[in-house]
Symmetry: C2
Subunit: 327 residues, 2 copies
C-alpha cells in the first residue's frame, strides 16, 4: 500500500492524504473517508520515503562497548524509556570492546540512519573527541565526562572519595586496586577520589598500597594477591569495580584472611551480585537507569533544537554498606 493507492481509493490527491497524515488541514468530509480507507487497508507510510524527503530518520543510535553488563543494561533501559516517549526508535551498535569499532559506528551514524547518537564510552581518545565535535548530528556521551561535549556521567570522583573517607575512620592503611587510567571515569577519577580522601586526612599517598588490574574477577583475584604481598599491613581495600572486589574477596577467603575483621573490602558499581556473595559487598551504587533516561532526554532536546547549549550532567550516587566493610 502506498499513498498513491490510498489517494485513488479515497478519490482525493496524494497531497490531501499526506496532509491528513501530517498537518491535518483537511475537510471533515474527506477526513472521514480517509480514516476509513487507511484503516481498511492498514496503510502505513514508508519511513524510508519520509526520511528521504524530510531528512528525519526518527531513530537514535546508541553505541555500546558490550551488552552483557548490568550497568550498560540499566542505561539502555533508561534510554529506551525516554526516547520511546518521544516517538524515537533505537538503533544499537555493539562494538565488542573495540575502540576501532566505535570510530567506525560514529562515522556510519554520522552519514546516515540516525538523528542523534548516544555513545556509552569507556576509553575516549583524541580521535573520538575530534570525530564527535565534527558530527552533523547531536551526540551525548554517557558514563564519561568529556570536555566540550554534552555528557551524562556518574560522580566517580566524589563517590570513591566518600567511600574511602568512610573507611578511613576505621583504618589509615587502605590499599587501592585500580584499572587503566585511559578510562577517565573508572580509572582516573575513581583513583583520584581515593587519593584525595587520603590527602584530606593528611595521609601520604604511597605506591606500595596501589596495584592495577583488568576488569575481570580473575584480575581482581591476582591483583589482590599482589597487594597483600606488597603491603601485608593493609587493613582495607578499595576496588575500582565490583568485579575486581569479588575477585579480591575470593582471594582473601582462599588465604584464610577474615573479612572485614582483618581486611575490609569495598567495590564500586552497585552490582546485584554484591548482595549474593559471602560476605556481601560494600559498594557505591550509581543510578544507571536514571542516567540513560537523562541522556535520552538531553539528546531529544538537542535534536529538536530546544537545547542549543551543551550540557554536562553529573549524576549522584549512594554508598551501600554491607558486610565486607562495616563503614
Amino acid at each position: 500500500m502506498t499513498i498513491k493507492e490510498i489517494a485513488e481509493l479515497a478519490g482525493v490527491s496524494r497531497a490531501t492524504v499526506s496532509r491528513y497524515l501530517n498537518d491535518g488541514y483537511v475537510s471533515e468530509e474527506k477526513r472521514k473517508i480517509l480514516k476509513k480507507v487507511i484503516e481498511e487497508n492498514s496503510y502505513v507510510p514508508s519511513t524510508q520515503a519520509q526520511t528521504l524527503r524530510t531528512k528525519r530518520t526518527g531513530t537514535i543510535g546508541v553505541i555500546i562497548p558490550r551488552v552483557n553488563s548490568e550497568a550498560i543494561g540499566g542505561m539502555i533501559d533508561g534510554i529506551s524509556d525516554s526516547i520511546a516517549e518521544s516517538g524515537y526508535r533505537l538503533m544499537l551498535a555493539n562494538t565488542a570492546n573495540n575502540e576501532k569499532n566505535e570510530i567506525k559506528y560514529l562515522r556510519a551514524f554520522n552519514e546516515n540512519f540516525v538523528d542523534g547518537v548516544i555513545l556509552i564510552g569507556t576509553i575516549i581518545t583524541g580521535e573520538h573527541k575530534r570525530l564527535v565535535s565534527g558530527m552533523n548530528v547531536p551526540v551525548v556521551v554517557l558514563a564519561q565526562k568529556v570536555e566540550g561535549v554534552s555528557c551524562v556521567y556518574h560522580d566517580d570522583f566524589n563517590s570513591v572519595k566518600d567511600l574511602t573517607a568512610r573507611m578511613l575512620k576505621k583504618t589509615d592503611r587502605i590499599g587501592y586496586i585500580g584499572v587503566t587510567e585511559r578510562d577517565k571515569a573508572a580509572g582516573l577519577s575513581r583513583k583520584n577520589g581515593y587519593k584525595t580522601a587520603l590527602g584530606s586526612k593528611g595521609i601520604k599517598y604511597d605506591d606500595k598500597y596501589i596495584v592495577k588490574s583488568d576488569f575481570s574477577i580473575e584480575g581482581g583475584y591476582k591483583a589482590c594477591n599482589e597487594l597483600i604481598e606488597k603491603a601485608p599491613d593493609v587493613r582495607g581495600i578499595i576496588c575500582a569495580t565490583d568485579n575486581i572486589a569479588v575477585g579480591a574477596v575470593k582471594l582473601l577467603k582462599d588465604r584464610g584472611i577474615a573479612i572485614p575483621d582483618r581486611i575490609m573490602v569495598a567495590g564500586v558499581g552497585g552490582n546485584i551480585f554484591g548482595e549474593m556473595i559471602e560476605p556481601s559487598l560494600t559498594t557505591v551504587g550509581y543510578y544507571y537507569d536514571a542516567c540513560g533516561l537523562e541522556a535520552g532526554r538531553l539528546l531529544v532536546d538537542m535534536i529538536k533544537g530546544k537545547t542549543k547549549a551543551r550540557r554536562e550532567i553529573k549524576m549522584g550516587y549512594e554508598i551501600i554498606v554491607r558486610n565486607s566493610a562495616l563503614i
Copy 2:
C-alpha cells in the same frame, strides 16, 4: 554529498558512479577518478534512498523483553557478531517485559525498517503466532520453540531431566520451584523435564513437592520457604532459574539448613553469579552466545533466500556441578 555531485566532480554520469559503487562495470580509467573523488569528499550513499529503490534496508530487528540480563546479553552479542559478518545492522526494540509491546514492535517491523526479525521470546501467545506467520519479512524466534516457525532454542527439557536424574542418584525426595507455564521454555519444558526424570525412576509425581515462583530472587526465597513448610522431608530442590536458586539458597542459610548436606539445590541458566555465592551453585549452562549466532545466521540465510525451508534448531547444554549439589 550526493551521487549527482560526485558525478559532476568526476565528469561522468550518475549512472556510472552508481555502477562503480555496485556492479563495478566501469573502465579502469574512470574507476581511478571515481575512487579519488569519492575518497576526497568522503562520500557515503544515502541508505534511505537505496532502500527506497531496492526494498532492502540492510538492518535486522531484534525484539527483546529486557536488556539487563546475562542470558539476553549473551544472545545479543551472538546475534551482533553473526549479522555484522553479513553486513547487516542491528535495530533493537526493548519491550520492557510487556507482551503488548512485542506485538506493537512486530507490527512496526513488518511494515518498515527491517529485512528480518529475531524475537527473543518469553511468553508466546496465539496472537504472536498468527502475527509471525503473516509477516512479510522472515522471523526467527529465539529461546522458545514455536511450532511452524523457524526457531533456535535451548534444550530446556532434557537439561532439567538430566539434572534431576543426577540428583535422583542421591535422593528420591526432590522438590521443584517452577515459574509460569505460559512460558513454554522456562516454565513448561523444564518442569516436564523434572517430572519425566522422576517417572523414569518410578517415582510418583507429587504436588506436595511443587511450588511456584516469579523470576526474582525474592520470589525464590519465599517459594523455598513454602516448599520446606509443605514438604519438610525434602532433600533436594531443582529451581527453574538461577535467580530462584539464589533466593532458595539464601532462605536455607537463613534457616540454618546445611547445603548440600541436608538439602541440595540446583538452578538453571549457568549465570556467572552462581560461582560467586556460598555455596557455589550447581546449575545447567546454556550456550547463549552460540544461540544468538545461530539465530543470526539462520535469519540471514532466510533473507537471502538460501533457506526456503523452516528450521528448528535445538542447542545443547552442560551440567555445571558446584557445591550446592555434588551430583
